[in-house]
Symmetry: C2
Subunit: 334 residues, 2 copies
């Protein structure tokens, strides 16, 4: 029977259908980027990220923020494989009554992001439709020796994240309506984490050539989903420690006021665009110190890679083990 | 004052805004593809083409045709610069009630096109929205010596096209409603020219390394618009001979029945994805014979490149000169 299906299912279907076709690629659908040959020492990375109004971004956001965020989200995929963005192409679908001034501001936002990440927009395409859409295509480069995929995690590796988890999800919630009853300094921070995320290109620049990392993904769907992608690709299991999940003071404040579950937010809130990665166990302290000193970014160890037979488990504060279920943001079902 | 603006204006605006940013590219926004360095002998070509339901394709088309056509349209840009497609990335926005079977058929169409043009889909991205959209990114390659841009036309060059003009536009008209009162063999042909166009990759393979061509573009917006892009980029003018415009017997049949203007249809009907190009004057016969023998494709000489001061002129059957006005398909205004 025909049925409606969620995005992860669609992506699986798509991978199965299209991987059969593909011969030239090195790594294709199913990782953050496709990887193609370039030179003796380098690969090119290719990724595309489509952003749909009211699904990925909110129309209430400033147009410059909409443009900037679309670039950041796509560049984040390049960072997640150890690379740097080089070139960008933009497809834009605008409402037919869009004012030229509004469009200019979208491009200003795109330009701002390009400057931050050292990329160039080299192509574009524009049309009108019933809903605003920005689709960003990024070409990046990575030294072959620095390429980090989702599939290299090994039993015993430690699992780490950059920054804090769940901020963007709360920021989105606030933007979508809760703002009026949560009017303090923290809400601005959470909103900015949703509206104005950072692609962790600088952190990756420091980490990628250490050789310590064994796998990586960016946190777009949420930890519980994204760790699943690493586990499936690497044929491993994992333990995640509930009490180690890093949550910002601003998020904790909102979580308490709203009587939310900190663990739920940290595990399932997507769109933080932090990095989730596995590291060879003996190099954690060295890596943390290096990243802290070079980029002032905190890395948190939140779990470890296990045999596949372990499955994916959350270790509760009580010590109890519980199955970790992917509840991250499935764009098609939401 | 803010105002609504057409697509060509938007693209100009976009070019101006973004070209200021761009330093690394060789040729950027404003040609069919962006061109980036690759090896000693080759460039990479990059292009993106967004296809919006009811604007670029009709929802009444079979899903496999929708998928195939989206690839063809994007690959055509690669051909128009002398290149061959290598890799494809697909962004798909579907309605939330789309059945998996329908999606599979879209991908089957994409796969069919990939096989025809020898490309691979190496990445994809999917979401839902209020309107179906397919955005295709293509990466191609071209030998440096074979690169053909819009900007190389010289005074005295002849202007040629592949195939016939206006078929796709009539096919679209028939599909959109006139079918019931035009029920003969010709209508199927015209519809197929809209629904199932060909990217002229094989013809380009034969022509690109001859060194005879000085500029090229694919006919997406219509001859009157697309020759304008060449003239502007090459800083030249042109004469187009009304009586030389190649129109298919099927199109002539429809034009007569519907009392349309053959010249209007040939000049302004877009989406044929034929090639429009300028050729050094002494090589026309050799090129025609070569292309005919290798690909069985007819080339028609329709005009010549002039000094810029001539402007763009249509030479009527009567011998009278008339200003050639770009009335091709402006996607935003339609």
């Amino acid at each position: 029977m025909e049925k409606r299906i969620g995005e992860f299912e669609l992506i699986d279907r798509l991978s199965n259908r299209l991987n059969k076709l593909s011969s030239k690629k090195i790594i294709g659908i199913g990782d953050d980027c496709a990887v193609i040959p370039y030179s003796r020492t380098e690969y090119k990375l290719l990724t595309v990220d489509v952003q749909v109004e009211n699904r990925h971004f909110l129309k209430t956001m400033a147009p410059a923020d909409i443009g900037k965020r679309a670039v950041v989200v796509a560049v984040s995929d390049i960072a997640a494989m150890g690379g740097k963005p080089e070139y960008i192409l933009v497809s834009l679908v605008l409402l037919s009554n869009t004012k030229s001034d509004y469009m200019d501001k979208i491009y200003d936002g795109i330009s701002t992001a390009c400057k931050i990440y050292g990329t160039d927009v080299i192509g574009g395409n524009i049309s009108t439709g019933r809903q605003m859409i920005i689709d960003i295509f990024v070409i990046g480069r990575v030294l072959k020796k620095n390429l980090i995929t989702r599939s290299g995690a090994k039993t015993g590796d430690k699992i780490l994240v950059t920054g804090t988890l769940g901020d963007a999800n709360l920021g989105r919630q606030i933007l979508k309506g809760a703002k009026h009853d949560f009017n303090n300094v923290g809400s601005d921070y959470l909103i900015s984490r949703f509206v104005n995320p950072t692609a962790r290109v600088k952190v990756v620049e420091v980490m990628a050539n250490t050789g310590y990392l064994t796998s990586m993904i960016d946190l777009s769907d949420g930890l519980s989903s994204d760790i699943g992608h690493i586990c499936v690709s690497s044929h491993v299991g994992c333990l995640i420690y509930e009490d180690k999940l890093p949550v910002s003071p601003q998020a904790m404040n909102f979580i308490k006021i709203k009587k939310l579950s900190k663990t739920e937010i940290a595990l399932n809130g997507g769109e933080d665009y932090e990095l989730l990665f596995s590291v060879k166990p003996n190099y954690i302290d060295r890596l943390k110190a290096l990243v802290k000193s070079k980029t002032n970014t905190v890395l948190t160890e939140i779990g470890e890679i296990t045999e596949k037979s372990t499955g994916m488990k959350l270790i509760k504060k009580s010590g109890q083990k519980q199955k970790l279920i992917a509840k991250g943001w499935d764009h098609l079902k939401k």
